[in-house]
Structures are given as structure tokens and as C-alpha cells.
Amino acid sequence: MADVRIRPVTELDIEAICRIDERITGKYRPDAWEDRVIYYIRRDPDSSQVAEIGGRVVGFMLGEVRGGEFGLEEPTGWVEFFGVLPDARDKGVGRSLIEALLARFKSQGAHVARTMVRSEDKDIDAFIRRNGFAPAPVTALEKRL
């Protein structure tokens, strides 16, 4: 594994996160990432993490511990937004990020971590499962209005 440094996200990572998102989705969405990053920073700046290689931010993962969602009362560590630059993939960056989030969740009193993956995102699904997640006994239902 290359020299990957994992550290908590800061306000000075917003532009790097925009850059990674832009590589993945082709869209520049600074407002959306500013809103998201300040949300996680103000709730718990030690949960969400970025990965650096040679001083360059190549990946990020945003998430936090919450309780009481979906009727699931127990404190739950939610893995919510993440991405790794295409040229930095398959080097364990994603794994290092998720491990850092899970460690923080545990120290915050969570005994379970959860995430939601859209069925068409096969790659993300595979990555998440490789990191020890299994389908939860919950079915997501929706109705178009």
C-alpha cells in the first residue's frame, strides 16, 4: 500500500472533495459540498475523514453517529458520502477511510454501522461488502408522488 495518511476532514478540504466528486460525476458542485462539509464538521469533525497521498487529498468519507432513525433507536454509525480519485483506487485508500470512520463510531458508542447503496451502484456495493457489511433486515420502500 502506498503511503496513505488518514486524517479528519477540515474546511480546507472542500475544494479537494469537489475535485474528487467532479472526477467521479463530472459535475462541479461547490455549494452542495460546502453545505455537507460544514454539516459534518459542526456535528463531529473527528468522524469524517480524508485520505492523502504525498500531501494530496485523494479520497474522502463523510459520516457520523446518529440515533433514532428508521425506528432504529440504537446509536448507529452512518457512512454517507465517499469517493476516491480514479487514479488512486485499488490501493486500499477506501478501506483505510472506512476503517477510520468505524473506529470513531465505536469510540462514540455505536455498536453498528449502516449505509445505503442504490441497487445500480454495483461497485460501491462490492466495496461496502468487502469491508464487512452485509444486507440489513430492513427493506427500503418508496412511492412516487
Binding site: E11, E22, E34, I38, R42, D44, V65, G68, Q108
Partner: protein
């Protein structure tokens, strides 16, 4: 429990004894009258966040052995009496200065709070102010929750009284004696001055006095938000400036705010040549210059990010890679599609407009140019400062000192230590019914009487 809400589980919560708690709340009523708005705005802007609590928070599970300095490896002090004399005295000064910054910044934000033109920015600043109040509370907790009588003759109630009596103009550090010219200063202050706070708190995480070290992580988590509350509005100003030539915040205005605050931020690290004693005593883990160098690099990174937002908005037709290349060329001094270096933000030279530390009064220009004629230098500095600030007592005082130093009419050391006299009402409580903030402390109280969170 509210849906999606969870209280942080890592800190231990402490309340001050009633007399001190009341004194802080009393101070708040006079200096921070906006505070009651927090509850309602919290519901609107931070609906699922854990509620704000005016209390001291101590991180659990911190290292128990001294991490730096001469006594590295020995057990940390749990009570003041276990400290060395020098460390104890130095620490008392640090706590007093830290407390002064916390309460001082509220007074500064208060000055222009009502003039904010964006409700979200204003609410962020309101939260910052409340958290600064909590930080001040935390410092008072350190002074009053333990017995310091071995190291100082000052009673805890008098230490607290002294802290609460400081006004803009009598604070320990210059950055907290500058009045704001507009609400924009709240933003620039959060981006530049709270950032120094982050460095100080981070360095003190190793502090040899265990309660001081344990006070830092909860404060740092709040500080992370303060920095975002400064940087994000600045990013948005720059985006607006790129799109709209009549944006209310144009680049020269933002640049001048940077010039106003940056030098004061650099000076908060203390003299560039100092800080080794604090490391030796196990109070901090970096010397002044080491910390300042990191800060300078970080401010440069901040402006690069903000400038990128401008370039992306102005040159929206360029791909990310091409925009990054364009910015690199502009930074290098080239003009790209009409954008010049001066159209973007840049960090002033670290020696520009300095009044303390190694480069104090050295007549170095905004971009590093050396001046020999004092009047030319003053004109140069004034041209780089915000107009409203130029008319302040602070700038007037600097001009006097700069002239005297350059003409050899005052010793450099005296000029460095000279503070502008701001005409200020005395700092005691303005209520007619009392002359002190701290009241009803039983005689002979020397701390230790704290109560746990009810």
C-alpha cells in the same frame, strides 16, 4: 431522543459553582445580548444538532504521562500543586490570555452582529459567539475548580473578576483589541484569528496539567466549525465577485480585510524567536516559529482554495484541469483570460504591518518590498488597509509608533509593548446594583467546589 440526534459521548460535563456561573451569565447579559436568539435559530439552522450547553467539557481517556519537555514520561499533574513553579506560573498566564481571547472575541462580534446581510452567516456567527462563551467558561473552570493558592496570591474570584472586566482595548492580545468595521470582519476574523486559536489549542493538547489538556479536544471540535464559518462565506463572496462585477464584497475589499487581520494573527503566536520554554515545561509541543510556519502555509492554502472558487466561476467553460492550470499561471504572475494576479487574493508578506515579534516595525511592504522612507511606508500600508479601519485609534497609534521607531525617538521594545488607549468605560459590571461581576463567593474560597452536571 429526537430523531437523528445523539449527544456526544466522549466528554465529561462540569458546571461552575453558582457564583461563577452567575457571573458569566451576568457578563453575557451585558456583552452578548444576542445570546437568547440562539435557541430559536438553533431549531431553524441546526435542528438535529445536540443542544448548546454553557458548561465545561473534559475529554476522557487522555494520556496520563507528560508528552514533551524535560519531564517527558513522568505523570501529568492532576492538581496545580503537582506542577513546577515555572510551569504553574506560565500556565496561569496562558489560561488568562486564552480566557481573554474567548470573551474578547464576543465583544468584537457583538459590535457588528446586527449589520449582517445574510441570515445564515449571521446565525453561524451567533453559534460561534455562544461557543466562545463556553470556551471562556472552560477557562474559568480551570481557574476555579482547583486550588492555585500555592502559586498565586490572587484569589480565584479576583482572577475571574479580572477576566470579565476586560474590554476591547484592554485584552491581553492585540487581535482582540481591534474593533470590527463591518460584519465582514466577523468572517475574516473566523478565518484568520480562530485559525490561530486552533493552533494554540492543538499545541496545548499535550499540556502537562491534565485538566488543561482534557479541555482542548472539545474546544477544538467547536473551533473546526468556527473555521468553516469563516472560510465558506469567504468562498461564496469570491464566487459572487467572479460572477457579478457589482458584488457587494469585491476582491479588493476582501484583500484589505486579510491585510487587517493576518499580521495580528501572526503576532498571536508570540515572538518568532520564543516558545522553547513552553515546550521545555511540557505546556505546548511546538515553538512559536514552528507553529507560525504551519499557520502561514495553511493560510496560503486557504486563499488558494478561495481563489480556485473564483477562477472556476469566472472561467466556467474550462475543465477542472484547465482551470487548475490557469490558476497556477495567474499565481505565477501571468494574465489569463483577463484575470491578473491582483484580481485574486494573496497572502501579505509575513513581515508586513507588524508591530510585535521579530519583524516589528521593519517597514516591509505587503508583497515583501523594503521601504526606507517612513512616510512612504505609512502611505503604502494605509493603501492596503480597509478604509474604515484606517480611521481607527489603532492605526493612528501604529503610525505614531512607526514614525518614532524609524526616527529613533523610541526604543523598539517600548514601541512593541505600547498599546493604543481606547476610550472605554471601566470594565466592571455596568449595573447600578453592583460593582463586580463575581458576587457572593464565600470568604476564603479557593476553588474545588464545582458541581457535576445536574
Amino acid at each position: 431522543m429526537l430523531a437523528g440526534t445523539l449527544k456526544a459521548m466522549t466528554d465529561e460535563i462540569r458546571m461552575l459553582p453558582k457564583a461563577y456561573h452567575d457571573a458569566v451569565e451576568h457578563w453575557q447579559r451585558h456583552n452578548f445580548p444576542e445570546y437568547p436568539q440562539l435557541t430559536e435559530r438553533w431549531q431553524q439552522y441546526f435542528p438535529k444538532d445536540a443542544e448548546f450547553c454553557l458548561c465545561a467539557r473534559l475529554e476522557k481517556d487522555m494520556p496520563t504521562e507528560i508528552q514533551v519537555g524535560d519531564r517527558k514520561g513522568q505523570p501529568k499533574a492532576l492538581a496545580p500543586k503537582e506542577l513546577d513553579k515555572e510551569a504553574a506560573e506560565q500556565l496561569l498566564m496562558i489560561v488568562r490570555a486564552q480566557a481573554s481571547t474567548e470573551f474578547g472575541s464576543i465583544q468584537q462580534h457583538h459590535g457588528t452582529f446586527e449589520r449582517a446581510n445574510d441570515p445564515q452567516d449571521q446565525t453561524w456567527v451567533l453559534r460561534v459567539m455562544a461557543e466562545e462563551l463556553r470556551h471562556g467558561y472552560q477557562m474559568i473552570h480551570l481557574l476555579t475548580s482547583a486550588d492555585w493558592s500555592k502559586w498565586t496570591d490572587t484569589k480565584p474570584q479576583d482572577m475571574v473578576e479580572e477576566i470579565l472586566s476586560m474590554q476591547t482595548g484592554s485584552h491581553v492580545l492585540a487581535a482582540f483589541n481591534l474593533e470590527y468595521d463591518s460584519f465582514g470582519d466577523s468572517i475574516a476574523f473566523a478565518a484568520f484569528i480562530d485559525r490561530v486559536g486552533k493552533y494554540q489549542l492543538t499545541m496545548q493538547k499535550v499540556n502537562t496539567y491534565a485538566p488543561m489538556a482534557a479541555s482542548m479536544p472539545p474546544m477544538l471540535r467547536e473551533e473546526a466549525f468556527h473555521l468553516a464559518a469563516g472560510v465558506i462565506p469567504m468562498r461564496r463572496w469570491m464566487e459572487a465577485a467572479a460572477r457579478d462585477r457589482n458584488a457587494t464584497m469585491d476582491v479588493p475589499t476582501i484583500q484589505k480585510m486579510c491585510a487587517k487581520w493576518y499580521g495580528r494573527g501572526l503576532e498571536m503566536f508570540g515572538d518568532e524567536r520564543g516558545g522553547a520554554t513552553n515546550v521545555k515545561l511540557g505546556l505546548k509541543d511546538l515553538t512559536n516559529r514552528e507553529a507560525q510556519d504551519l499557520y502561514i502555509a495553511e493560510c496560503g492554502k486557504m486563499l488558494d482554495d478561495i481563489n480556485t472558487r473564483f477562477v472556476r466561476a469566472r472561467l466556467a467553460h474550462l475543465s477542472r484541469d484547465d482551470a487548475d492550470k490557469a490558476y497556477a499561471r495567474i499565481k505565477d504572475g501571468k494574465t489569463v483570460e483577463g484575470i491578473r494576479r491582483d484580481d485574486l487574493l494573496r497572502l501579505p508578506d509575513r513581515r508586513f504591518f507588524r508591530r510585535r515579534g521579530e519583524p516589528a516595525f521593519q517597514m516591509i511592504g505587503h508583497d515583501g518590498e523594503q521601504f526606507t522612507d517612513v512616510e512612504e511606508y505609512i502611505a503604502h500600508v494605509l493603501a492596503h488597509l480597509p478604509e474604515a479601519y484606517r480611521a481607527s485609534i489603532d492605526v493612528k497609534h501604529w503610525i505614531e509608533m512607526q514614525r518614532k521607531v524609524s526616527r529613533g525617538e523610541i526604543e523598539l521594545k517600548k514601541a512593541i509593548n505600547s498599546m493604543p488607549r481606547l476610550a472605554r468605560v471601566g470594565g466592571a459590571c455596568p449595573c447600578s446594583k453592583s460593582v463586580r461581576w463575581v458576587m457572593d463567593v464565600p470568604e476564603g474560597t479557593s476553588g474545588g467546589g464545582e458541581r457535576l452536571n445536574p
